[in-house]
Symmetry: C2
Subunit: 169 residues, 2 copies
DNA sequence: TCGGAATAGTTAGGCGCCTTACGATCAGGC
DNA sequence: GCCTGATCGTAAGGCGCCTAACTATTCCGA
């Protein structure tokens, strides 16, 4: 989702657009575009930061999920569910992580269909080398927002979520 | 950028994480995650809507850009700049749009390196079949936000933008 | 008990976007 | 006039994610 307009149209242009298209609500569109522009930049910034550590966003998320409880291995299906990707995609993510020695696949003891994925010591060490910078980056980017701002932002997001069509199944 | 955690961790988990990682600012992280979760859902929703019209986000943006002034053709380089993709990517987007008869390539009169891209009548008609639904969708999703909410959201996004590292060149 | 349905993970192929490298053309200083 | 460098659009190849189809295993009702 890295694609967005580089420049958000000025408000007068939105007003003019509303004359051609009566369905266009200028203030809704303005808020929408700023929201997407900013979050796209955020994705981009952190994706770039992770790329500097030679890891993709998808693989980073997998490591974070496994690192929540490093001793307990997790099935690829659960990882796919939590990370919001398909199981096919998760296979590929685990493939490269395992090739790089950051995670290890094991056979599940009670179900021979199932695998279990465990983060390795190397994987933990690798993650420890990223997380502090990652957390500092988030704190920095949110630095100008007061406590009230932050709560307000969460509330606005909740209002939008209420009007989003439910995800398929 | 469709990848995100499906469930945002509860605030207590963020607090616990802050014990392990002193760089983790829980309220900043909470706001960050809600922002990305919601905008990811928005991208997803509108991407799905566009897919229902058999067009990708990238091609849709190109049509919208050309439709701002349908009589004036635009160079691929300008389109790439405005749409925030590389020129190589723009070549591919224009290829399919032209194959489907929605835009037409012309030679620039004064510079034989340059092409000019123009939206066709078919392209305009196609876009008119999407835009009303698109605009209605945005108005709907922002429907619960008051005028004050919307201005506030734009202001919060501006605060975040100020702390984002400048884009490369 | 046994045969169909559900579920596990994987494979194959596609799409969208990227980076890199290219040939063609224009612009400016000598 | 020309060489150098910038800029045009394009081609080739890579990455991340997707859907659809497959094999192996487990579950469950007749």
């Amino acid at each position: 989702m890295e694609l967005m307009l580089k420049e958000i149209p000025r408000y007068e242009c939105l007003l003019e657009g509303a004359r051609r298209y009566p369905e266009l609500d200028p203030s809704a569109m303005e808020a929408f575009l700023h929201l997407l522009r900013t979050s796209s930049d955020l994705f981009d910034t952190f994706g770039r930061m992770l790329a500097g550590h030679a890891i993709s966003k998808g693989r980073f998320v997998v490591l974070v999920l496994l690192n929540r409880d490093p001793e307990t291995p997790v099935s690829p299906a659960d990882l796919a569910d939590w990370a919001n990707v398909t199981r096919a995609t998760m296979t590929g993510l685990i493939d490269t992580l395992e090739r790089d020695g950051l995670v290890r696949r094991e056979n599940a003891p009670n179900d021979r269909r199932m695998m279990l994925v465990r983060i390795t010591a190397k994987g933990r060490k690798f993650l420890e080398g990223i997380l502090p910078e990652f957390f500092r980056g988030i704190a920095a980017v949110m630095g100008r927002l007061t406590t009230v701002d932050r709560k307000g932002l969460v509330g606005l997001m909740a209002k939008i979520q209420q009007n989003l069509p439910a995800r398929p199944e």
